[in-house]
Symmetry: C2
Subunit: 335 residues, 2 copies
């Protein structure tokens, strides 16, 4: 497996973005967010996604130097228009704004419309936690998930991120609405493996563990069946209603299968506004310790909190270099 030092990966993508007209500061931040996704083990939304991001610039979906504009505000809540700017820069900007609001108002909510794919959703949870904030954020997508009981995609596989800051390593949940992301299905198929649990439907409409069957029908399973389906709807409605933007079904048009004009939700909550650091630490320590010490279902399988594996991967990849798929790396070098 080829590994590339983090700084080299970051620098390479930064160079490409400069070539495409990003200002120096914006090229640096956007490339860093891509490189950090790979560094943290989210390869599907790091380097591997970068060539497609460049295509979206080329075909005009992503306007490289557009930034969000505020369109409404009241107290701790604001609405911004993303103006089709780069998804990761728009998202980073809005989370930073939510954090700023939370510093004086206890919490802040920024709803963003007309933006692009934010790449790795977890980025904005880690961003908030690094600033000492709790966070809840989510985005909608193009229709790619049938509601429970349907064969037809009406809802989106909207990622949901919840973050809690912790001195020993943040607790960050970063989950899509399907049991397995499309990236995961692909990895299992390429490895010739069946999924550990059912992940979608085959052509007869039966649940299956075969990733190839699910890719064929494009009917992934919402996690928790009807529960993930309901959750997906709620996130879509909240993001699009508050942003003054499009809901998943409104994003879809036959003449534009590509994903843009998304609606997103960024909330930061300042625990220091009402709480005591010593109490937080006690809650975190007691809870995480109890999880780690709990009797295991399988002695060989550790019990992990969300985000725990990320830190391990990050440390390893910073030391040894970030693993790359040679095909994608060569592609990025040629951009």
């Amino acid at each position: 497996m080829k590994r590339v030092p983090f700084e080299e990966m970051h620098g390479q993508m930064r160079q490409v973005l400069l070539k495409y007209g990003f200002s120096a500061e914006r090229a640096n931040l956007s490339a860093r967010l891509f490189a950090e996704a790979s560094r943290d083990g989210v390869y599907s939304h790091g380097l591997n996604r970068f060539p497609r991001f460049i295509e979206f610039i080329q075909n005009g979906y992503v306007k490289v130097n557009n930034s969000p504009l505020r369109t409404a505000q009241m107290g701790a809540i604001e609405q911004w228009d993303g103006q089709q700017g780069p998804g990761n820069l728009n998202a980073h900007f809005c989370m930073a704004r939510a954090i700023e609001l939370a510093q004086t108002k206890g919490m802040g909510l920024v709803a963003l419309r007309d933006t692009n794919h934010w790449m790795r959703g977890g980025s904005y949870g880690w961003q908030a936690a690094d600033a000492g904030m709790m966070a809840i954020c989510f985005t909608n997508t193009t229709p790619n998930l049938p509601p429970w009981g349907a064969k037809e995609a009406v809802l989106g596989n909207n990622p949901l991120i919840i973050a809690v800051p912790r001195s020993g390593g943040h607790v960050v949940l970063d989950t899509a609405m399907t049991q397995f992301s499309f990236g995961k299905l692909e990895s299992y198929r390429r490895a010739g493996k069946m999924l550990p649990v059912e992940g979608g439907f085959d052509e007869k409409g039966n649940l299956t563990r075969d990733p190839a069957q699910i890719e064929k029908t494009n009917r992934a399973l919402p996690f928790g069946f009807w529960k993930g389906s309901g959750l997906s709807l709620m996130l879509d409605l909240m993001a699009s209603m508050l942003a003054g933007g499009k809901s998943t079904i409104q994003i879809s048009r036959q003449d534009r299968p590509d994903e843009y004009n998304l609606s997103q939700f960024f909330m930061a909550i300042n625990p220091n506004s009402i709480g005591e650091p010593r109490h937080y630490e006690q809650v975190l320590t007691d809870t995480i310790t109890a999880m780690h010490r709990a009797a295991r279902a399988d002695e060989k399988q550790a019990i992990l909190y969300p985000g725990e594996r990320v830190i391990k991967t990050r440390v390893e990849n910073m030391k040894l270099g970030v693993p790359v798929d040679e095909e994608y790396w060569t592609k990025v070098l040629s951009l």
Copy 2:
């Protein structure tokens, strides 16, 4: 099946609460919340739960006339101490306060500690939606859910409620962290039925559809396996850290198996603070219509949005009377 008119059910429980020392207004509201749970089809947390609530008063866990006291605030966020007051009154009070905050600050968050079981969580979502607010609320519980990979309960089956107001009937998700609540398992077992999908573990540690096996091991399945497990942890941490209260694992003590000293989270978001009613309606109409019109997986099974069945049940029960389990009804009449 015996049915009791809503007003009679409400009046009966109100009388009991007056007998136990509730003030007139508090008896009326608490009894109404119980009766409305049954009216809306959530029988497990309506009338059927009322006798146990009275026991909790008798043994001193619930202090009938204690109300929440504010312990900290900043901008749109507040922390309150529930003082062991009745769980449904405390929760209703805190959601009302979050709504009040959202009216002038765009949104409001109230974190509540040292409270009791809130009964039907959905109540507070419907309360917010009736006031034109979106809502996110959740509570922790005693340890009753093993984290993914564990055999031992460390996390709670924390209900999560998300509500979006809608003129044609609110959209309200009210979900526990398990695939099936303990109440649902009991119903399936009593009806001699297997679950439609796997709902927990048997004594050999295998997934099963047999409700009796799951009740025996007390190992219900988090919805979406590792995903529901992660979500349960995040909700527990946020509620307890912000409330200055206990997390699930801290609630548990060998000498007190009963559930009290809970931590809860009530958030109201005012869509009118930054948005346009016409836009909301369009989002809601387009999305709900697309769901209803989507090609069905099973022609006989309608595709429903969260809360849709509640309205249907409510209308029917107001017309025909609220169905009661005669055993519980007789018990309540005797209190």
